[in-house]
Amino acid sequence: MTFLQLNDLKIHFPTDDGLVRSVDGLSFQLERGKTLGIVGESGSGKSVTSLGILGLHKGGRAKISGEIWLDGEELVSASPEHVRSLRGKKMAMIFQDPLSAMHPYYTVGDQIIEAYRIHNNVSKKVAKKHAIDMLGRVGIPQPDRRVDSYPHEFSGGMRQRAMIAMALSCDPELLIADEPTTALDVTVQAQILDLMRDLQRDFNAALIIITHDLGVVAELSDDILVMYGGKCIEYGSADDIFERPEHPYTWGLLGSMPRLDREVTERLLPIKGSPPSLINVPSGCAFHPRCAFEPRTGGKGSTLVPDLVETEGGHLVRCHLSREERRDIWATEIKPKLES
């Protein structure tokens, strides 16, 4: 049985202005020990998805449908209390910007101890020892001293390490990292990514990395899911996405990847326009207003919602262009530019 499986997950928020379709029919699978990268711009629904898996939308205004299977249990229909008992233990999350994600009034140690003791009936002393262990494992020097520090006394990278220590404190089987490196500078980013890769191996957890930056997932992910307007528009192995991408949006993302040999600001294939409104989703393909190849769809782009179709061995694409057209465009128009 698949460890994590989402079937047609929809998370909608009713607002005064209308229904916000943050996640609109998302499905994917993930096995233990594997890493899935979810990539998209802000507002694409990737963070909402991760919070949805953790059950953090329960009891709020969100309307949730579809299925989330975790290790044989369906979570959408499960009681909030049961999902809570899984949170932090079976599945844990690493948030971006640990300065705001950690409580400013409690020491780092206290926050890890708290996370540990929720799911483990141990004394504070034992929990503290565990917290020091965890801090050591994520590479914080002098963990027995730093355990009593407050978040604001840590550097950004240290905070992120502490955050990871907290998430891993209960040995979770599913770990979701939401933009784990966005708030960090480039060298620290690499260290954190290395750390996560090592830890994932040690813990044999399923890992979901959520990011707007394809570069982050390039080396870590087994599979990559590209989200746009609450939907999956391309899914495949890391090789599929980096070597044989078929969706114009993915091409755009690849074009905006910062590369060490170029100025970060320089964009090869800029994506025009801004992410779609989730209330008034564009008719047809949600990406069509920004798509340079929309004219080649013969008008279908603005009228018909394309299906997510398997193009080849597990590589899925949601596009009106034919497989041949896409491969042709990639090979003749896009790839040469990226490699130049």
Binding site: A92, H103, A115, Y150
Partner: protein, 337 residues
């Protein structure tokens, strides 16, 4: 932390000194600049049948002919070592801290203030506990049940509470509850705590509620806003993601942060209150510091006004100090700076 405390203490003392100098100037220098002579000032404290000789003798006795600096020096000296006052049949020593000697009631000010302090403290303590508990709980519930009927109702009542002055709510409450239904004590009732705790609480429950209503309303609004802000913070999401029970998320993570500004304001409010809950004490005829102040002002009894101002300033400065220290305890980020 120690230097932080020492720095704050020195600041507090300096503040008290400045307050005393400014207050003294307001009452003794400004009138002189406006052309009021020492005789005019003495005129307030002689009887309505006084002769010019009486007025001058009084001005002499009160030292009003001396330069203002000398008078201020005498006052400061009195605070530290005490002063002497002629009461006709002899001379009375007003022991330190002699905050002055009332020209009108012929009493040293300090014992008066000490006499009245328990009333004001009782009022402030009871009312502040009530308003803090009610205000914070209503505020938290309102924030958690945002846009519910409870929230809307509570906020309308809170708006009324903030807008209605205690001399109005106090009199209405007395009319309805004390004289109409007879379930609460009438105005002016006060039994010291040491005498009979049950009677003490009974006599003060209406003033407490009246004063608490005003502040509970303000605190409910503050808490609600603070709670709404806090519950939207990332660290609350983190706490939930850890699998923490919602009650603990609110109680341990949400309230702790939302209450920090409330603690600050609460400290100052209690300080101001101990300095004299003027309107409430007047509405309920409670012989506390606030009532003392209004009476002194009505009688133009400068030493009393001066003494009261200093005591009130003292409490506010102390409250400020406590808040500063408390803040450092509550919010670790403050300790660094």
């Amino acid at each position: 932390m120690v230097t932080y405390i020492i720095r704050r203490l020195i600041g507090a003392l300096a503040m008290l000194f400045v307050v005393s100098a400014v207050t003294f100037s307001i009452f003794f220098v400004v009138p002189r600049l406006a052309g009021v002579t020492p005789d005019d000032m003495a005129n307030r404290y002689v009887g309505r049948a006084a002769t010019a000789a009486n007025v001058q003798a009084t001005a002499q006795k009160l030292g009003l002919y001396d330069p203002v600096v000398v008078q201020y020096g005498r006052w400061v000296k009195g605070v530290f070592v005490g002063s002497e006052y002629d009461y006709g049949a002899g001379v009375e020593h007003c022991p330190a801290p002699c905050l002055g000697y009332s020209f009108v009631t012929k009493q040293p000010v300090w014992p008066d203030l000490v006499d009245r302090l328990p009333v004001t403290l009782s009022l402030a303590a009871g009312a502040s506990v009530i308003w803090l508990v009610i205000g914070v709980s209503v505020g938290v519930l309102s924030a958690l049940k945002r846009r519910s009927i409870f929230d809307r109702g509570a906020m309308i009542i809170a708006l009324a509470g903030v807008s209605l002055p205690p001399f109005f709510t106090g009199l209405v409450a007395l009319s309805l509850l004390s004289y109409g239904l007879g379930i609460t004590a009438p105005g002016g009732a006060y039994v010291p705590l040491s005498e009979n705790p049950a009677q003490w609480a009974y006599s003060l429950i209406l003033p407490w509620l009246t004063l608490a209503f005003l502040n509970a309303a303000a605190y409910a609004r503050l808490t609600r806003a603070g709670m709404l802000d806090t519950m939207g913070e990332d660290y609350i999401r983190t706490a939930r993601a850890k699998g923490l029970k919602e009650s603990k998320v609110i109680g341990k993570h949400g309230l702790r942060a939302a209450l920090t500004p409330i603690v600050t304001i609460f400290g100052l409010d209690v300080g101001i209150l101990v300095g004299g809950a003027i309107l409430t004490e007047n509405a309920f005829s409670l012989q506390g510091l606030g009532k003392y102040a209004t009476t002194a002002i009505a009688a133009n009894d400068l030493p009393k006004i001066m003494g009261f101002t200093m005591l009130a300033a003292f409490f506010i400065v102390v409250a400020n100090l406590i808040v500063d220290l408390l803040y450092a305890v509550v919010d670790p980020r403050v300790r660094l700076s």
